[in-house]
Symmetry: C2
Subunit: 275 residues, 2 copies
């Protein structure tokens, strides 16, 4: 039985290249063909299904055919179909459940998928503390502005609760740091901008572990943190965008300066360290 090329999908790398055409010009043949990409059957099937999902031909919640049916329909074996589904599952396009009535149901990638991807990226490239801080300085002030613009009463309530929890954890430094991150996440959540939320959540964990082992959380720093948090939150509640962004910029900026003035060794330590 023919193996590869019998796939009845539009392969995309099949375009009738007519190898027998123009066989004379043997020299001066300067890269008529770009680097030919070879696609695996599973990748082709996954791509095809993904495109159907993205273009709305497969609605969210719709069930895909069973693995065996997909195999018959596409002319592929079950293992190839399964690998395709594994790809889609990993990318967040289907969720698969075993058992009767199970199968693959269509969904769209959500924040969590982006977050794990970003998390892998950040964890993989250590050394990125500078990039993390710079990114925070980009995202958080803008988020404060958007939070002031879009915050709901639920957002405010959540922020107030976290603020109280932060004050209560004043003497428990690890807890203080944890709640602190949560507070910052709550600000970004109040933007109701999934893109910013996903990005901030992804770097939050990394920021936490980077700051955790540091001792630059003196009483004064923590007291100042509580104070500026209060003022930022007031601005957000009042809907004062300019004040919110200004105060948040100062807040994360002072943190960044604190990190920047640390002796390199301690940074070494924290960044090498797990991240």
């Amino acid at each position: 039985m023919v193996k590869c090329t019998r796939i009845p999908l539009e392969t995309g790398a099949h375009e009738e290249t007519s190898l027998s055409a123009d066989p004379k010009s043997d020299e001066a043949r300067a890269s008529v063909t770009g680097p030919i990409e070879v696609f695996k059957a599973s990748e082709l099937l996954a791509g095809r299904l993904r495109e159907q999902i993205l273009q709305g031909q497969l609605q969210e919640g719709a069930p895909l055919p069973t693995e065996r049916d997909l195999g018959h329909q596409s002319g592929l074996g079950r293992s190839s179909v399964r690998e395709a589904l594994r790809i889609l599952e990993n990318q967040g396009f289907v969720s698969i459940r075993p058992g009767r009535g199970g199968g693959s149901i269509v969904q769209l990638p959500d924040r969590a998928d982006v977050e794990t991807s970003l998390e892998h990226f950040i964890r993989g490239r250590r050394f990125r503390l500078r990039a993390l801080i710079e990114t925070r300085e980009a995202i958080e002030p803008a988020s404060a502005r958007l939070a002031a613009r879009h915050r709901t009463s639920a957002d405010i309530e959540s922020l107030e609760r976290l603020s109280a929890a932060l004050g209560a954890a004043f003497d428990n430094i690890p807890e203080f740091l944890r709640v602190n991150i949560e507070w910052h996440l709550a600000v970004v959540t109040a933007t109701h901008n999934d893109l910013l939320i996903a990005f901030m959540r992804a770097i939050a964990q990394a920021v936490l572990t980077a700051t955790d082992l540091e001792d630059f959380n003196s009483d004064e720093v923590r007291t100042a943190t509580l104070k500026i948090h209060r003022r930022i939150l007031d601005a957000i509640i009042a809907g004062d965008e300019e004040a919110a962004v200004r105060r948040m910029r100062r807040h994360v900026g002072s943190y960044a300066r604190l990190v920047a003035t640390r002796p390199p060794e301690s940074l070494e330590k924290s960044t090498k360290m797990e991240l």
Copy 2:
């Protein structure tokens, strides 16, 4: 042969729950066990290998054992091993080549992996034009500052080249928009911050298609674009962070205002439209 539970990996969901313990209290048994997560063999293996890579026990460039060897070592069948490798490949942790001397070699997820993930996310959730613009307004001004701080001569050269190309494409609107995006990408690239670069690249394509079909690219708008680009670039070259961030903020802000004042229908159109 035993099937599932014989996996010699630390399953993580195996913890000796001792089903026979305390069989008397039949009522009032309030959730002793959280929701038990069931892991597939391929997921376990993929997770184990991923962790080894992230913790440096498997260096970048190191070859993994062959699929058959991995199967023997883990006690799994080859199909399970292959599905695990498909996951890792998809996440950017290995690259696989067929043929003799081929196999799986370890690598770390790079920008491209993050970008595809973000791209899927953005394409999946249409309706996100507001989020895209807000994110641009967060990222680009900050990027301008960092570009002014970290730009190299190569960055400047690239930006100058794109500026010239943008001027040359003044009358070719699609080309103008394309080069325009490239110019903005070049600014972010000059930050040398992979996180910001990945994020911007991911939204760039979406921004382009969202703005493409709009007619709010009048002569005046394009002329103004060229002018402000010049001024931003001057600030970046001069290393004037404050000017760079201020001008860039005005630039993307005016764009955002332009979009915001459009009649909703046209936004409808562009956002529904493919993205």
